[in-house]
Symmetry: C2
Subunit: 341 residues, 2 copies
């Protein structure tokens, strides 16, 4: 191999509040060399996810925090350039955790799956057929379990997870109402994703009341990626035996210090189930679920949006856009062009 320079984005400091571009710094070093059992990959596309806020924060989480000075953790698609692992060959496209860098040496556990680069646009594997689609499917199908005629309320409805979750609920025959933060996103939910109704929560004086009006028969499933006061307002509108899959708490501080109304009595009075879940726990079902989702895409029942920006150095800005709710659809950073061999 010729000598390669590896541009990387490292965590410069622990963010105070939401991570900003200034919390990261661009560094360069020679591309790494794979050891026994490892592969060297070239990063193609990076997935910019709300969960990254938690990954750079202090406090307990489902993964270790990215250390200050460390390369930012990130899901992405990458091409195998050199393999010292018999499960991977040169030119394989893999979905895994390359991080915010141009080249990465990955252990087997950093690689979640092989990806079929021919079947659908490559970027789809990062969103609707990737972790976001898996999150939407597990949360809605396994935990939400909407029945025909039930009402499903979806937070972050125009986002990659929310838009997919809402469309799955519609495929299952539910009436679907979205919660989103701008008129433009509301329009997307209604026109592109086919939601039955959508609330721009920044545009209503009383969110609980707005949900009540949009869901006159109450809410059977609340797909929660937000927590905080939006959850409170949803809880006030739940029907008996309702289900609340929790895939994120983006409106709450990433530490565990948020306070608010206690939920126990609400869960009891309405016999509700509130369940936290992580798509990565269900990685073994990813291929099976991606096939189901791909069928729905082909049928025209499942649509998705992407916002693709080029250049590794755009990643921190794109992350902040996601955390500020300014993105439209799945946020992706293109690090290198994919040139089929």
């Amino acid at each position: 191999m010729r000598d390669l320079t590896n541009r990387q984005l490292r965590l410069r400091r622990r963010p105070a509040g939401l991570p900003s571009p200034e919390d990261f710094e661009l560094t360069e070093e020679p591309a790494p060399v794979p050891g026994a059992g490892q592969v060297l990959v070239r990063t193609l596309l990076l997935s910019i996810d709300p969960a990254m806020r938690g990954w750079v924060a202090e406090g307990p989480n489902y993964v270790q925090a990215v250390p200050v000075g460390g390369v930012m953790r990130s899901f992405g698609l990458a091409e195998v350039v050199q393999s010292r692992n018999t499960r991977f060959r040169k030119h394989d496209i893999i979905f895994g955790l390359p991080g915010w860098q141009e080249w990465a040496v990955l252990d087997e556990q950093d690689i979640l799956r092989h990806v079929d680069a021919a079947a659908v646009p490559l970027s789809a594997w990062l969103g609707v057929l990737g972790i976001n689609g898996l999150t939407a499917y597990v949360g809605m199908v396994d935990i939400g379990r909407p029945k025909r005629g039930e009402t499903v309320l979806v937070s972050s409805a125009a986002g990659s997870v929310g838009s997919t979750a809402g469309q799955i609920a519609r495929i299952r025959g539910a009436r679907v109402v979205g919660l989103t933060s701008t008129e433009q996103k509301r329009d997307l939910c209604l026109r592109v994703f086919g939601f039955d109704d959508c609330i721009n929560y920044r545009d209503v004086p009383d969110l609980g009341r707005a949900i009540e009006e949009a869901c006159p028969e109450g809410v059977d499933v609340y797909f929660d990626s937000v927590g905080g006061q939006m959850l409170d307002a949803a809880l006030d509108n739940m029907n008996v035996a309702g289900r609340i899959p929790v895939c994120g708490t983006i409106s709450e501080p990433a530490d565990l210090h948020a306070t608010g109304p206690r939920v126990g009595r609400r869960l009891l009075v309405k016999r509700l189930t509130m369940q936290g879940f992580l798509a990565t726990d269900h990685a073994a079902r990813m291929d099976e679920i991606a096939r189901t989702l791909a069928t729905w895409i082909e049928d025209g029942h499942l649509r998705y949006l992407e916002e693709i920006t080029s250049g590794l150095e755009a990643a921190p800005t794109m992350l902040r856009r996601v955390l500020d709710g300014q993105n439209e659809g799945k946020s992706i950073v293109r690090v290198a062009e994919f040139e089929p061999a």
Copy 2:
């Protein structure tokens, strides 16, 4: 029928805080006469339950609040004295909602089941084979689902529900740790109910730390009838994929104004399920579950305690004892002796 006087306990006012004896008043009126489809019953035994706090409080609940001036709602066992319903005959013993009164006219929906007065001591149908046993079974078996070797933490461990729930978890092969409020109750949990360990939470400076020490491998199931800070301490000790059946929130105000740490992020990070449930939703399975519990009683695997006091007028004092956590085992008020026909 001869003329009968019906002594009744009515709600005198909406309680400020926990209901006290002064919140009820003893009244007398002629015993009522059953209309078409109704039955007249003589109350034998009344079940004194923590849920009664919620029944007399303002605010949303799973049943309408008892109106001021109304006879206090209560589960109990009663004997049919006169029947104008073909499903019930004179001398039948029924489990239902006679309320705090000596005689009651019941509609069919006020009667949950017939009771076999010959099989076990009659009082058992109010506790371990009644709503409390059903609550323990549904919460532990259906929602908690303890596996062999897992750790189960049980609140109100010496109470009628908690002691049964803990013993069911032990039958399923789990290690069971109780939470209770006195040394005497702790002793009951260890010696009578066979818990593996038990914490007197009034005797420890840091409950979270005490749970951590008593559950060195973490908590897989927390059976919650308490809510509040005890739940917070349990949440800090949950294992990934833990389950929290919620059957009560006795430490929180009966309105929905309690505040505390938000649970969403804790549920997410540990992939926990928190589920409110009510035994009465599962009344159709009561006979089947009672048979299972009765088998365990005969086997010696399931033990229960009762505290039976005679006289209708004792009910308010007994209720306060229950709410103050001073009772030992199922609290029952005997209103009339059962004399088999």
